[in-house]
Amino acid sequence: MMHRRSRMHRVFLRSFAVQGSWNFETLVGYGFAFALLPALRVVYRGRPDALAAAVGRHARLFNTHPYLAPIALGAVARLEAEDTSPEVIERFKAAVRGALGGLGDQLVWAGWRPVCILGALALFLAGAPWWSGLLAFLVVYNAGHLGLRLWAFQLGWKESTGIAATLRSSWIWDAERALRAIGPALLGACAVLLAAGHAPVLERLPLDWLTIGAVAVALGVVAGGRVRRPVEAILLALILIGFLWSGR
């Protein structure tokens, strides 16, 4: 039992590197096999051919959000330990891969991460010491990051193929809704703080620039993430204008 527990700890630790060999052929499949290996070595001890076959099965195409990969790893480790047939395990992996990817994308990439970043940026723009926002971000963000991974791993191991029902009624949906409400308010706060010029070496935008800035915000809101390309193009064009201006 102790042996299996230490092996499961290794699976959990390896889950942090699940995207280490990310590629367009198997996505995180190879990393999934890498992370699951300590558990597979216990299940297939003394059967090298069966172990190689199991590794081959798990190295196939698979995708998930990296922070929720421990759900799939815990559940598959449990299924392998219970000697479940490879076909059932493959069907389970095929069923969860899209769901876990989408859920993690919305909860972490479009929720927890931008909210934590914006909180830290707001601190910097409000004039707090440079290190305070950085430290607050790394501590708070990774408390959530580690907590989510631990919860996910325990959930996968405990619920196995029953994770869908638990996920449907879990706290994740409430958290996602709350983060999506907080994020825009923090964005608005950052816009004002940037214009107010409280951050180190930044100055308050003069009134004419403030007007241009308000138009820029409005254009950004309308264009969404696509605004990056034209803004980059303008900045690069200004570099050339600078050369012409300086060489007069």
């Binding site: 590629n23 590794v55 196939r60 990817g101 308010a185 608005g188 940037l194 950004g220 309308v222 200004l238």
Partner: protein
């Protein structure tokens, strides 16, 4: 020794972005500040990182999408800026941030190349053939090692090229006909507006955005 530390930082930052452990010290504002710390001017590093962060914010790594990598670019921009200037220099800061945006695309492309290489080395798509466990471990760790080297290489080359450009611009008296720090401020404001759609549709989130801005404006005015 400074350049070696910056190079190692670039490698670690590049590794964190996707491979390991995704603790987000690869975010531009963290990487920029750490780069600034390495070369002795963390405040300006943090500022470059913050500005680059707003350009990275609306980019979400959904699925197999390719995207610019801002972390290594923030380290390179910061180190090159500090090497090329004696103190705060708005025009050089403008150039460092703009070159950093270009480098983030190059760095993102290097991630794509590494993923293609990984696919050739380890990919077997949907064909399940037996694989020796040791070869999985070796292949996976090699891919991670290459990701570290990729981050370090992008940082090293990016820093060197940017430092040359910044030195040249500084000595030739390059300047914008506008207040460059204000131009950066307006560009960042456009990116803040562009980031709203991360959280949902504009119709859903505009009220929250305006309330946040109004509450902060009142707080700034009162305090």
């Amino acid at each position: 020794m400074e350049w070696l530390t910056a190079l190692l930082l670039g490698g670690v930052v590049g590794l964190d972005a996707t491979s390991f452990p995704q603790a987000m010290y690869s975010r531009p504002f963290v990487a920029g500040a750490l780069g600034g710390l390495v070369v002795g001017r963390p405040v300006e590093g943090a500022l470059i990182g913050v500005l680059l962060e707003f350009f990275s914010l609306p980019i979400l790594p959904f699925g197999a999408a390719g995207y610019p990598e801002g972390g290594t670019a923030a380290v390179a921009s910061t180190v090159a800026y500090v090497w090329a200037t004696d103190g705060f220099h708005p025009d050089m800061l403008f150039l460092a941030v703009s070159f950093g945006l270009v480098l983030s695309h190059v760095s993102g492309y290097s991630v794509r190349l590494l993923r293609i290489r990984n696919g050739r080395a380890v990919g077997q798509g949907d064909q399940a053939a037996p694989i020796e466990p040791r070869s999985v471990e070796r292949g996976h760790l090699l891919a991670m090692g290459l990701d570290f080297l990729r981050g370090a290489l992008v940082t090293a080359v990016g820093t060197a090229l940017m430092a040359i450009c910044l030195f040249a611009a500084s000595h030739s008296g390059w300047a914008l006909p506008l207040a460059s720090i204000n131009v950066l401020g307006v560009a960042t404001l456009a990116m803040i507006g562009g980031s709203l759609t991360i959280f949902g549709t504009v119709r859903e989130r505009l009220v929250s955005f305006v309330l946040g801005a109004a509450a902060t404006a009142v707080a700034v005015w009162v305090l």
